[in-house]
């Protein structure tokens, strides 16, 4: 198993190589990338920041939990932080297992848990020159004055 917060481009193929071995007949790779629109606004890039030590700890815990929950799965996960342009990968998760159902389930579990609890934030940069922090789940950018849980 492998997990890391990185400040360089993610090499998804290397994560797949890390998890694959002769006993694994199925590999599922998830890649999350910066897309050009969110909530109807034209996005030019996203700036990811993290509470880095805690993010590394949470990501490692998610991977360890998943390997216990889906026995036999091999996992490798990297989340990138810093400024990412359109199309660049913010996260890649490679999950390998002898059987495909567990590879899919473990992959999905890791991305959902990552979005739920790893302390990483993103600020979208828009075509009109503005930028705003995004609060997951709300589907809306947060106002600077009263963010998050109070909304």
């Amino acid at each position: 198993m492998h997990s890391a917060i990185v400040e360089r481009p993610i090499e998804a193929a290397r994560l797949m190589t890390r998890v694959s071995d002769a006993s694994c007949g199925a590999v599922v790779l998830f890649v999350g990338t910066v897309r050009d629109r969110n909530s109807g606004r034209a996005v030019t890039g996203i700036e990811y920041s993290a509470y880095r030590e805690m993010a590394e700890r949470e990501l490692a815990a998610i991977v360890a939990d998943a390997e216990a929950r889906f026995p036999g799965v091999h996992l490798a996960v990297e989340h990138r932080i810093g400024y990412l342009a359109l199309g660049e990968a913010s996260i890649a998760i490679a999950a390998a297992h002898a059987h495909r159902a567990l590879a899919y389930d473990a992959s999905r579990h890791v991305i959902e848990e990552t979005k739920r609890r790893v302390p990483i934030w993103k600020r979208e940069h828009y075509a009109d020159g503005t930028r705003e922090w995004v609060h997951a789940g709300s589907g809306r950018a947060a106002s600077a004055a009263l963010p998050g849980a109070a909304r």
Binding site: Y51, I120, W121, H135, G148
Partner: protein
């Protein structure tokens, strides 16, 4: 005692600092600490019950805080 509090992302922007130091009585809880930060920096800067981590683990608002702890007030996460 003086407690070091880390702020991130929109909360750091709202308060205008990524790290602050807050004076609180010994044995204070996360709840009291958040109230002290809001009283000092303005109640419109942080929600009344944000997520908080103590020593890099999510903690309930009843958790007691010690002087050496690393406290972080955590906006809704948006990784992935």
């Amino acid at each position: 005692m003086t407690v070091r509090v880390l702020l991130f992302a929109s909360y750091a922007d709202a308060v205008g600092a990524a790290e602050i130091h807050v004076d609180v009585p010994d044995g204070t809880t996360v709840r009291d600490l958040v109230a002290a930060v809001r009283a000092r920096h303005g109640p419109d800067r942080l929600p009344p019950a944000p997520m908080v981590a103590v020593n890099q683990r999510y903690a309930s608002h009843d958790t007691s805080v010690s002087a050496g702890d690393e406290i972080a007030i955590i906006p809704p996460v948006a990784g992935g």
